[in-house]
């Protein structure tokens, strides 16, 4: 019995310690971010690696989600004779929730795992140690630019996801189903608010960008320098980042959209 309690205590302390370690790591990323901004070409290269390379999957997913959303919402709305509001429903669903969240989940899977694997393998190949021996701090040269690259890329990707989703919904709703095009856009324009809906969605995606990139970099940096270690770390990146995004989404939604 005592042994069980002791084990539980050790487990809890271990979690606290790793939380603290992660917090210090996050503080380091923030500390070195301004220096990375001065080496702007590094950040640009990372935005390319993280953002540009995710474009295809984000756009494809956005289009698909837009198609399906239009179809499903039509089936639901037509029962109440409210099919004209299809554009509005799709827009709000995308811009407020699906855009930021689905993009963040895809981002964690595509860009997050690639960041984790890259940093983990650099650590395994002693590249980070070599940099330290050359009196160059790998946190400012390698980690901070990737952190900034992720934070810049996420909102852009989320916006593109929502935009192409709306276009996809237009194709299905107006061209395929036959909802009136004029109503599709006008009802949407009347009720969607730039600052409240689009703006809050962008804020959400920025927060998700911070979460996903930070988790990816941390897992890569702390991984064991073996193939199993890297595989385990990439799994943890996706799981922890996804859970973090989903819980923060709940908190942010409650904060942003609760007041009438």
């Amino acid at each position: 019995m005592i042994a069980l309690l002791a084990a539980l205590g050790r487990f809890a302390l271990g979690i606290l310690r790793s939380l603290g370690h992660a917090a210090f790591f996050f503080a380091d990323l923030l500390r070195f971010a301004p220096a990375a901004l001065r080496r702007f070409s590094l950040v640009v290269a990372q935005v390319h690696a993280i953002g540009n390379r995710s474009l295809v999957i984000i756009l494809a997913s956005g289009l698909a989600v837009g198609f399906v959303l239009a179809l499903q919402m039509y089936y639901a709305l037509v029962v109440y004779g409210a099919a004209e509001s299809l554009g509005l429903i799709v827009n709000l669903a995308l811009v407020r929730e699906l855009g930021p969240v689905v993009t963040a989940l895809l981002f964690a899977g595509r860009a997050g795992t690639s960041l984790t694997a890259e940093i983990g393998l650099m650590k395994a190949g002693e590249q980070l140690a070599a940099m330290e021996m050359m009196a160059i701090d790998p946190r400012s040269r390698v980690l901070a630019p990737r952190f900034l690259g992720g934070i810049v890329s996420m909102p852009i990707l989320a916006v593109l996801f929502s935009a192409i989703g709306i276009l996809g919904a237009y194709v299905v709703a107006v061209l395929l189903i036959g909802v009136d095009a004029g109503n599709f856009w006008s009802i949407m324009q009347a009720r969607v608010d730039v600052w409240r809906d689009v703006g809050n969605g962008i804020v959400k995606s920025a927060v998700f960008g911070v979460i996903c990139t930070f988790v990816a970099l941390y897992q890569g940096y702390e991984t064991q320098a073996t193939p199993e270690g890297v595989a385990y770390a990439t799994t943890r990146t996706v799981v922890i980042a996804s859970l973090g995004v989903l819980s923060m989404d709940f908190v942010l939604t409650a904060l942003m959209f609760s007041t009438g």
Binding site: M122, G125, E126, Q127, A129, A130, E132, M133, M134, A135, I136, R141
Partner: protein
């Protein structure tokens, strides 16, 4: 000792800094004890000194703490007891400014090169120059090509790291390590996994670089033959982090100490036992008398 044809690299031996005599050692390990945690002690009250301008080898089996010594000199870890002295200065790992300053005076060759795989050969060698100096690109280009020429790989400059063989990557890493003309060059297992030709090339380069630049070279290895052919002095370490013997190669080869003889001659059994500790075979097989 091998004799090598003279080749152009730099002007000549570096003069000693004022205030310290030319034969004052560049690095001193002074009664150092170190372990990563309380359960394992890697180095146990060891004292070594590495003379300026010479090639010194640190030999020993795996787990004898050789690579750890290099990490301590580079200030990666803090010693539990004792001090590491770099050119008269005690290395304090908490002083980041001092560490930065000291690390700029050394170059390290990692065991498998540790090249930056996302950059080309040229960019790898140019990396320390671009990070630490404000030299114009044209000058950096000249310096990089000269360094690559010194290791015989000037033609490989535009290649990506994935296209480069193991032996070549060590040489590129060496070119990168000497990009800023360091006073101390550390080699972590420079001969491990190389074919005889590459080993010869590497040994040649280590000796030649040392002589032409006046730098101090520190080699960590377990390849006795190659090391003895180029080093001026050697330390032999054993499991448990002790210095077993030290001296000139000729003296070590003539030594009567059983541990030294076993290592140098490569005898399978001696003070370092062949068998991992176990119960007697008869007992394990169940045929106890």
């Amino acid at each position: 000792m091998r004799q090598f044809p003279a080749q152009e690299h730099c002007s000549g031996p570096r003069p000693a800094p004022p205030g310290l005599s030319a034969d004052h050692p560049l690095i001193e390990i002074d009664h150092v004890t170190f372990g990563y945690d309380v359960t394992r002690t890697i180095l146990n009250d060891v004292s070594l000194s590495f003379p300026r301008g010479k090639v010194t080898a640190i030999l020993g089996g795996s787990g004898s703490g050789k690579t750890t010594l290099l990490r301590l000199i580079g200030g990666v870890f803090r010693v539990n007891r004792g001090r590491v002295v770099f050119d008269g200065e005690v290395v304090d790992t908490r002083d980041k400014v001092q560490l930065y300053r000291l690390r700029r005076r050394l170059g390290m060759l990692f065991q498998f090169g540790a090249l930056f795989t996302d950059l080309t050969v040229f960019e790898n060698v140019a990396f320390p120059l671009r990070e630490h100096t404000d030299l114009p690109e044209s000058m950096i280009r000249d310096i990089v090509l000269m360094k690559l020429n010194a290791v015989g790989l000037r033609g490989a400059a535009p290649l990506r790291i994935a296209q480069v063989s193991g032996g070549m990557s060590r040489r590129i890493a060496l070119a990168r390590a000497i990009a800023l003309d360091p006073e101390l060059i550390m080699y972590d297992e420079p001969f491990a996994g190389l074919d005889p030709i590459s080993m010869g090339v590497t040994a040649n380069l280590i000796r030649k670089l040392n002589d032409t630049t006046g730098a101090t070279s520190l080699m960590v290895s377990h390849d006795v033959q190659e090391c003895f052919s180029i080093c001026d002095y050697a330390y032999l370490m054993s499991l448990g982090g002790r210095v077993v013997a030290h001296g000139k190669p000729a003296d070590l080869q003539a030594s009567e100490d059983p541990e030294v003889r076993q290592f140098i001659r490569g005898e399978p059994d001696g003070p370092v036992r062949f068998h991992y500790p176990a119960v007697p075979l008869a007992q394990d097989l169940g045929v106890t008398p």
